[in-house]
């Protein structure tokens, strides 16, 4: 297996328990040179980065998901076992950095001893070494290293101690992977597994006895086991009365008994390190103050979201407005300038304007996660969530859903119960994500008068804003309840949640999260929005030649007959051309369907394009209403207020239509990326279709009810 030759691109895996500080270490070792993708065939997030070591080819460092043991209960954990039991796989590491929390060695070494028995070259990295002096914690590193027969390196993600030593240790291990081969296993399979192993040992693609044992346990779901072998294993398991659970429990108990004396011999705790965390938890998880604090935090979050984001947002809008103007004045008029200004610049501005809010939201969520608060929120709301068929961990998804449903849906992977996870995935997009913010902002000004109370402390529009968010949450909870009743599965559900000690956030991790998520948003969502902007520009500029000609002839005639000024004639031409364009035809085609909701064909175009991504709404409005007019595209609100029904001459954007649109946008499933993620996460087309249909149905009938009762 390890022949002393260093591979062209050696793979080093970071493995460890959840909350061991693995990701912090990954960030330090790779900086921003990270690629975030998915592990092949599954949707577990794969973080990979490059690491340069002296005298070695560039090393690929893979951050494996956190796992407690080789007996997985969640998708994330399964992946670790899948890859580490498959020596033929591309991701099989040449060396493992096993990260353990120095204060929790008595628990974190379980998986270590299992991987060690798989005969994988390893380095034990003791994270949070900064706690060594402060809390009177002492670790006898040479003794631990001798007992475990691997190099042991204490490091700290906070003050970066030990990082140089760690890099040296990796270099040495990759050069000579056989240097630290285990001489003795931590665990020898017991009597009741010996028979089944004796039969299967030769049949299975196993490197040693423990590898064979794990394959025997997990053959039913491991992807790299051929079907024929799987059947063979099943038969052998039945024939020898192999009891997987019992064997697992015995193994785990024996492992604890083996490594506990080693830990006790080399680690000394002086004081009770967690008393500060306990005092904080007396308040944070208090039955009364806890929920109050939670609500206060959420209010603070949304307040910050609007207060802090407005300045950079205005700046971005202004920049792109000016850019469009200057392009129009510099370049000669023509289709190319139109494409550039109305299609590309307007589209680009429409993407980047969300960036401040997305960055702030991820900043907050990253801090809450780093500090250890999200686990407390899950504890506080678990039983409430259970009544709606969800899990305490769903709270995390429902909170992050307010930034963007995509990472939120991906965060549900820690929920091991399939039904609870599915319900969370289905209802999370009902929480108002940041893409709805600009739509809300524009429409609320038409729906709610600008009244303020208490000297401007509370505004009616602000209350309406909060109300829409609340409506989204309510919709999510009630939908979950409905699905809970419809879908029935007998699967067992767990909480079993670790509440990590409170820690001051590592700012580098917060920064990395904000950077990665913002980049992903701009690249992924930006691509779709740009494409749609350009298509929309083309569809609203061009139309069936006969219709377009007829529209122009009609305008010329009317301009002559009514003696219109040049500017009036140009505006009339623009609106007639839009009506005759392909987009206009499409809008008119769906008008009968959306008429009961109070929408005209122009809103229809915006709705249709919004189904790709809701943030397109504002861009579409900009594109539709700016054609033929050199108004600043971003002053859409003023433009919409001028829009009148050609028949009745009433304003199109009256409160009834505005409320109806708001309700539609709260509930409708208008995000292709979310549907794609749902498809990936549920591994079937059924659930994205269900999600699309139920959300859009609530949106349609909700909006209809609101319009009909208000108008």
């Amino acid at each position: 297996m390890h022949n002393g030759q260093v591979k062209a691109t050696p793979v080093v895996g970071l493995v460890g328990n959840p909350n061991s500080g693995k990701s912090s270490l990954f960030n330090i070792l790779t900086g921003l040179r990270q690629r975030i993708g998915n592990f092949p065939g599954v949707t577990v997030e794969k973080k990979a980065g490059m690491l340069s070591l002296p005298g070695l080819p560039t090393v690929e460092l893979i951050d494996f998901p956190g796992a407690y043991s080789c007996y997985p209960t969640s998708l994330d954990e399964r992946l670790v076992v899948q890859e580490l039991t498959n020596p033929e796989g591309d991701l099989f590491p040449d060396a493992i950095l096993y990260v353990a929390d120095i204060t929790k060695l008595d628990k974190h070494l379980l998986l270590f001893t299992q991987l060690r028995d798989l005969d994988l070259p390893m380095i034990l990295v003791l994270n949070m070494a900064d706690l060594m002096d402060a809390d009177g914690l002492t670790v006898d590193i040479p003794r631990l290293s001798k007992a475990l027969e691997v190099p042991v390196v204490p490091v700290s993600s906070r003050d970066h101690r030990g990082i140089a030593e760690l890099k040296e240790a990796i270099t040495d291990l990759l050069r000579d992977p056989n240097r630290f081969r285990p001489r003795q296993a931590f665990f020898e399979p017991g009597a009741n597994t010996r028979d089944v192993l004796a039969e299967l040992r030769r049949e299975l693609p196993a490197r040693n006895d423990y590898h064979a044992l794990l394959l025997t346990h997990h053959a039913p779901w491991l992807k790299h086991i051929p079907d024929a072998t799987r059947h063979q294993v099943q038969e052998a398991r039945v024939r020898h009365g192999f009891h997987s659970l019992r064997s697992q429990v015995e193994e785990t108990m024996e492992r604890y008994n083996t490594f506990e004396p080693i830990v006790r011999g080399s680690v000394r705790h002086a004081g009770d390190t967690s008393s500060r965390s306990d005092r904080i938890d007396n308040v944070v998880t208090h039955p009364i103050f806890g929920p109050i604090l939670f609500i206060a935090l959420m209010l603070l979050l949304f307040q910050a979201l609007f207060a802090w984001a407005s300045v950079p947002m205005d700046l971005i809008e202004f920049t792109f407005g000016t850019l469009g103007e200057s392009i129009r004045t510099t370049l000669p008029a023509g289709w190319f300038t139109d494409l550039l200004v109305d299609g590309i610049v307007a589209g680009l501005g429409g993407v980047l304007v969300f960036l401040p809010q997305i960055a702030i939201l991820f900043f907050f969520i990253a801090i809450l996660e780093e500090v250890g608060y999200l686990a407390r929120a899950a504890y506080l709301f678990d039983s409430l969530m259970q009544r709606f068929g969800l899990n305490g961990r769903s709270v995390v998804a429902l909170i992050s859903g307010h930034a963007c449903a995509i990472p939120a849906i991906m965060s549900t992977r820690t929920i091991s119960n399939w039904k609870e996870r599915l319900l969370t995935i289905l209802v999370t997009p009902l929480t108002s994500c940041s893409a709805r913010i600009p739509v809300y902002v524009i429409l609320i000004s038409f729906a709610v008068p600008p009244v303020v109370y208490f000297n401007g402390l509370i505004s009616l529009q602000g209350l309406a804003f909060a109300g829409l968010y609340f409506l989204g949450i309510l919709g999510a909870m009630l939908s979950a309840l409905a699905f809970k009743v419809i879908l029935r599965t007998p699967e067992r559900s767990f909480l079993m949640l670790e509440l990590p000690e409170y820690r001051i956030p590592v700012w580098r991790n917060v920064g990395t999260t904000v950077w990665q998520k913002s980049k992903t948003f701009v690249l992924e969502a930006g691509k779709i929005i740009m494409i749609i902007s350009v298509i929309l520009w083309a569809a609203s500029t061009y139309g069936p030649p006969a219709d377009m000609a007829a529209a122009e002839a009609q305008v010329t005639e009317r301009a002559r007959a009514q003696e219109l000024s040049e500017e009036q004639a140009a505006d009339l031409l623009a609106s007639e051309r839009l009506e005759a364009s392909y987009a206009g035809h499409l809008g008119k085609a769906i008008e009968p369907v959306i008429r009961p909701l109070g929408y005209d064909w122009k809103i229809g175009i915006a709705l249709l394009t919004s189904f790709a991504a809701r943030e397109v709404f504002v861009g579409t409005m900009a594109t539709i209403y700016s054609i033929g007019s050199t108004d600043d595209e971003f002053r859409i609100r003023e433009r919409l207020a001028e829009e009148r029904n050609p028949v009745t001459n009433e304003p199109v954007y009256n409160p009834a239509t505005a409320w109806s649109l708001l309700i539609f946008y709260v509930f409708a499933m208008m995000c292709m990326s979310t549907l794609a993620v749902t498809k990936r996460e549920t591994n079937s087309w059924k659930w994205p279709i269900v999600q699309f249909v139920f959300m859009t149905a609530i949106a349609y009938f909700g909006a209809m009810a609101v319009y009909q009762s208000l108008s």
Binding site: Y68, S69, Y71, T73, K104, D106, K107, L110, L245, R246, Q248, V249, T252, M253, Y256, D272, T273, S274, S277, D281, T285, H286, P287, I288, G290, P291, A375, A378, Y379, L380, F381, D382, S383, L384, Q386, G392, R492, F494, L495, M496, L497, E498, L499, P500, E501
Partner: protein
């Protein structure tokens, strides 16, 4: 006040503590062992959650949130 006969930890009131004796459910035992809960560990119920149903529990020096059903399979003396 500690029980002398092993009793399910779900019967504990906030503030009560004891030593884990054994588990009564193999499936949950596997999961609990993985996260470091095992016979011989000190268990203390710290408080109950605001809406009932889940417990804030301290096992050795580790804080965990467990549901009533999960606590019910932990026998403590």
């Amino acid at each position: 006040m500690p029980f002398h006969v092993p009793a399910a930890a779900s019967l504990f009131e906030a503030g009560q503590s004891g030593t884990i004796d054994r588990f009564t459910n193999e499936y949950l035992a596997g999961k609990l062992l993985d996260i470091g809960v095992r016979p011989g560990s000190r268990l203390r119920v710290v408080r109950k959650s605001p809406f009932g149903g889940s417990w804030y529990v301290k096992i050795d020096r580790q804080c965990l949130a467990l549901r009533k059903k999960e606590l019910a399979c932990i026998m403590v003396k």
